[in-house]
């Protein structure tokens, strides 16, 4: 019987500081055992439980592309009261961590095929969105999907995640990247303004398009208004949620919203599904 509580060992290969506030780091994890790497198949939008012995375990969305199985990336925000996030940020390269997963449903990539995708991401919620974008952009997949638009908002350029990716994407012809920051900064080439008004100005066309929205609560709320105004139906707006979890496999009982467990039925929900659930998240 496979024991779902046992973590598999992964080695910390690289740590990248992502932002100027220094509370966001991306961790590159490589499987210690090659057979684990082979067995670990995931869909963009899924998450895994990362643990450090003696400290504990917590769920994080996978930020790397499913097409690149050798390395898993996680971008983690350190919270002053977060025991594990703090410990993670203090790790040095070479240390071995535990990993369980992948868990959750992931983005509905099959459903997204042949559709246009509008990705709306804010702050550090870009993690699984980046996984999705890189999945779609992969040469084996790109033709399956329609137009891909990345709309990324951050407080200031220093808080913009995955700068390398954004730059690379900008150079490509098969993805449109729009970046916005809250206030003007010298040398900034992107848009200026909060996410919602800039999105409105952009006026994305809802036809044959899915909107995938992740970000701070207030940003999601305001952007949803805009999307509704544009005519996006709620079943074609996709959100990914975060919740405190312990088991990740629908048993420990704490990540439920109504009768749905975020760890099993989520973390990805359409806005329509969310409207039918209680607001307890």
């Amino acid at each position: 019987m496979k024991n779902p509580y046992l973590p598999i060992p992964v080695r910390l290969n690289k740590v990248t500081l992502e932002n100027e506030s220094k509370d966001l780091k991306t961790f590159d994890l490589a499987f210690v055992n090659p057979q684990d790497a082979k067995a670990f198949k995931f869909v963009a939008g899924q998450f895994a439980m990362i643990s450090i012995n003696g400290i504990g375990e917590a769920p994080f969305g996978i930020a790397s592309s499913p097409m690149n199985g050798a390395v898993l990336q996680f971008t983690v925000k350190r919270y002053p009261r977060g025991v594990l996030t703090t410990a993670l940020h203090n790790l040095s390269v070479g240390q071995v961590l535990g990993l369980r997963g992948p868990f959750g449903n992931g983005y509905p990539v099959k459903e997204l095929e042949s559709k246009n995708i509008l990705v709306v991401g804010g702050g550090f919620a870009l993690t699984t969105l980046r996984s999705l974008a890189n999945y779609v952009l992969h040469k084996k997949n790109r033709t399956k999907f329609g137009k891909l638009t990345m709309f990324v908002a951050a407080r200031n350029p220093g808080e913009m995640l995955y700068k390398e990716d954004l730059e690379e994407w900008s150079k490509r012809g098969d993805i449109e990247v729009i970046q916005t920051i809250d206030n003007p900064v010298e040398g900034w080439k992107g848009k200026v303004g909060y996410a919602a008004p800039v999105l409105k100005e952009l006026a994305p066309c809802p036809e044959n398009t899915y909107a995938v929205v992740c970000g701070p609560a207030i940003m999601i709320k305001t952007c949803l208004f805009v999307l509704f105004e544009m005519g996006f139906p709620s079943e074609r707006i996709v959100n990914s949620l975060e919740m405190k979890m312990k088991c990740g496999i629908g048993k420990c009982g704490r990540c439920n919203i109504g009768s749905k467990y975020v760890c099993m039925d989520g973390p990805v929900f359409t806005h329509k599904q969310l409207q039918e659930l209680s607001g307890e998240y």
């Binding site: 509580y5 973590p7 375990e57 312990k246 704490r254 209680s278």
Partner: protein
């Protein structure tokens, strides 16, 4: 509910089929029977240190068992889902030592009440799933034979019948035992139970009158449980009133302790924590309670269930709505432990009544 009818049918068929397999033993010989079982199996039975508080514990000798009892204070779920359980241990350094949960010796639990027996089939739905089987729980389930003791001493706080269950419910039992005043009646329910009964020496064939007396007792006991709960539209009602202010009233007197959830035979929420002493550590799972603020508190400080209101609602909804939605059964067996032990005398049946009475 469909499953209930189906089970009823199954029960009836079994009864007819197994009628002649029923056995009895005189009361003065029961200790000997337990001795026999304790010899071959890890035997658990109701015991009491002070003569009042009953608890299911491992016994070595039959005379330690206290078979005339209301019910144990703590639910026997702890025998399958202990309050603290090691998931794996490790030593410092890179590689973990991760022992698989060990296969234990075959166990017998003797004297489980029908409500608690039923609770195990509810816990099975959570832990014994096809996608992620919980090895720690299921291992213990597979290794355990259950002798359910019909309940002919319901308490005033019991309400199993209100949930469509009953003091003589056989669901989940391997052997069903009835106290017939001067003897015990044994009815095998599963093949495991039947095989085991064949092993036990000193059992006599049950007489027709034993079986009819047992039925008489069943009817008499059921009639003693008078609490009623309106279940017809409860799930829908709970959906409708999720945002109503009634929850402000319901949770008012709740103190926010974990008595109800820790003593509940169906509550199964847990936490996973690491504990380390020097260079040796283990990851353990421990009971947790939705009544605690930290249950859903996130590292960022955000808490989706920030006050007692949301937490109380979660507990009621989980039992009478969410669980029904997911598994088509109510996650309550009417054992009454939460009523009896709540420091504020919160009565879950009254809460349901209050909800049902809402317009």
């Amino acid at each position: 509910m469909k499953t209930h009818l189906w089970l009823l049918f199954l029960k009836m068929t079994l009864k007819i089929l197994l009628g002649e397999l029923m056995k009895t033993i005189k009361k003065d010989k029961i200790a000997k029977l337990l001795d026999f079982l304790a010899d071959k199996y890890e035997l658990f039975a109701p015991t009491s240190k002070d003569g009042l508080v009953v608890s299911f514990e491992r016994i070595e000798e039959g005379k330690q068992a206290k078979l005339r009892f209301y019910n144990s204070n703590e639910a026997p779920k702890k025998l399958f889902f202990p309050q603290s359980e090691t998931l794996f241990s490790y030593s410092k350094g890179e590689r973990e030592t991760v022992p698989e949960p060990k296969t234990e010796q075959q166990r017998i639990i003797f004297g489980l009440k029908p409500c608690d027996t039923k609770s195990l089939s509810l816990l099975d739905k959570v832990f014994d799933t096809t996608d992620f089987k919980d090895p720690y729980y299921t291992q213990k389930r597979v290794n355990t034979i259950i002798f359910t003791l019909a309940c002919n001493r319901p308490q005033s706080s019991c309400f199993c019948t209100a949930l469509g269950l009953g003091p003589f419910l056989k669901e989940g039992a391997d052997v069903f035992v009835v106290d017939l005043d001067d003897k015990y009646l044994f009815e095998p329910i599963t093949q495991k139970g039947e095989d085991l009964l064949k092993e036990i020496p000193g059992l006599e064939e049950a007489a027709e009158k034993d079986i009819s007396y047992s039925k008489e007792l069943a009817d008499g006991t059921e009639a003693k449980i008078t609490t009623k709960i309106q279940l017809d539209r409860l799930k829908e009602k709970l959906d409708e009133i999720f945002d109503e202010s009634v929850w402000d009233e319901i949770h008012q007197k709740c103190l926010g302790c974990g008595v109800c959830t820790y003593l509940c035979p169906t509550c199964h929420c847990f936490d996973i924590v690491d504990e380390q002493v020097n260079d040796k550590g283990k990851r353990i799972r421990i009971w947790d309670s939705c009544m605690y603020p930290a249950f859903t508190l996130e590292a960022s400080g955000h808490n989706p269930k920030p006050t007692g209101k949301e937490r109380m609602r979660q507990r009621i909804m989980h039992k009478f709505n969410y669980f029904v939605e997911t598994y088509d059964e109510i996650a309550c067996v009417g054992c009454g432990r939460c009523l009896r032990n709540c420091p504020a005398c919160m009565d879950i049946t009254k809460v349901i009544e209050q909800i049902n009475n809402l317009k």
